[in-house]
Symmetry: none
Subunit: 209 residues, 2 copies
DNA sequence: TTTAACAATTGGTCAGACCACATAAATCTC
DNA sequence: GAGATTTATGTGGTCTGACCAATTGTTAAA
């Protein structure tokens, strides 16, 4: 025995053993993992090593740790791949243009994607958005856009958009688009009538080059 | 003092501070980060917290730690997010679909973006691609696509594409597109003639829904 | 000069302590 | 007895200090 990984560090082997444990016991989203102390004892390693493994998986979004409760398996779709990469990949400050461009491109693509939805489905979506707007829940046109991108169905795109938005909301000032019910209604109409031109006007894409 | 992030865990804030430090000092691949003990002292936190941050970033492949030497920044392309996700996130067709879809979007958008380039500029680009193809430098149609996405000018899109490609090359088998000079030439012609339809055919996008 | 021994630095791991948070059990109050 | 309150226990969060192991640079010996 013990051929697992002689060269590896302890916390790496713990990650692997956790993986095996999850597969073997058929654990799934929401299930609780053993406590740090129990794992430490059961695997014969220090608690700090267990924590290093847990923290790594937590940063990735694969597990969720709740203070005083324990550690739980998370829905893998909540993974933080995008954020993490963004943090270390989007390092060029001068690439703000790239960020804005990709962001508005995702917006445009997401909206176009909603053309396939039925009118009643779209109406339902927009009623919800409007009510939340009147409720003060959505406080900017970006919030509305977030709803639309999310509603388009591609969760990955949505995550990418969130990251991009976070970046350029720190550097760019919005206020380039009115934020009232009429604007939202016109977006609704543009989608329902599949009016490419109007959408392009509403969500003005930045010029290439 | 000390109201930076009362709700966040220490190791998370360390990750952020590391990110800021990297940006501020302009560190890049291969550069050395401060030692665990120095960071611990400089940030006023325990060494174990610094280690949790380092171990998390190391597992993701964003940094590399060498026993007795120190911790170094890695090329982001070496990240292991994909394997890790694949390890814990097995069967999710929707996630895979999202990835492929976003990837295809970027490909398609990048190619369309090249419509604004002059014909001679495009010819130069493709001469280079063809010569590298004959040279054995590009070994798959994906390599060609990488060149095109990169040439489209948005470096961020390119980086995102690289990540997505890494993922679905690990799960999907390619071989859905011939890889010869004629195919490349036809892409070239499609761009020059601004033939949306042909591009759509060549780079078959996945079906929505 | 070359080589060998040594010291300093750095990561790897562990043990124990203490705090903060959450929940269930025991207790008190009415 | 029902409800509110206190207590006990378990769990994560963090720090400190210790020791080992690998690497590198310095020093001393050949």
């Amino acid at each position: 025995m013990e051929r697992s990984k002689p060269h590896s560090k302890i916390y790496i082997s713990i990650v692997h053993q956790l993986n095996e444990m999850i597969l073997r016991d058929g654990l799934s989203t929401g299930d609780r993992l053993p406590s740090e102390r129990e794992l430490s004892e059961r695997l014969g390693v220090g608690r700090s090593s267990v924590r290093e493994a847990f923290r790594a998986l937590e940063l990735l979004g694969l597990i969720e740790t709740r203070h005083g409760e324990g550690t739980f398996l998370r829905d893998f779709r909540d993974h933080r791949l995008v954020e993490l990469l963004g943090m270390f990949v989007i390092q060029d400050r001068q690439a703000e243009h790239d960020i804005m461009e990709l962001k508005s491109w995702i917006e445009s693509e997401s909206i176009h994607r909603m053309f396939i939805h039925s009118e009643e489905k779209l109406n339902l979506l927009f009623e919800d958005i409007i009510s939340r707007f009147n409720n003060g829940d959505l406080t900017s046109i970006s919030d509305v856009m977030a709803e639309l991108v999310q509603a388009s169905g591609n969760r990955l795109s949505y995550k990418v958009w969130l990251v991009l938005h976070e970046f350029d909301s720190n550097t760019q000032q919005p206020a380039n688009m009115p934020f009232d019910e009429m604007t939202i209604r016109s977006i609704q109409q543009a989608i329902i009538s599949k009016n490419h031109q109007l959408i392009h006007t509403l969500c003005k894409k930045p010029q290439y080059e």
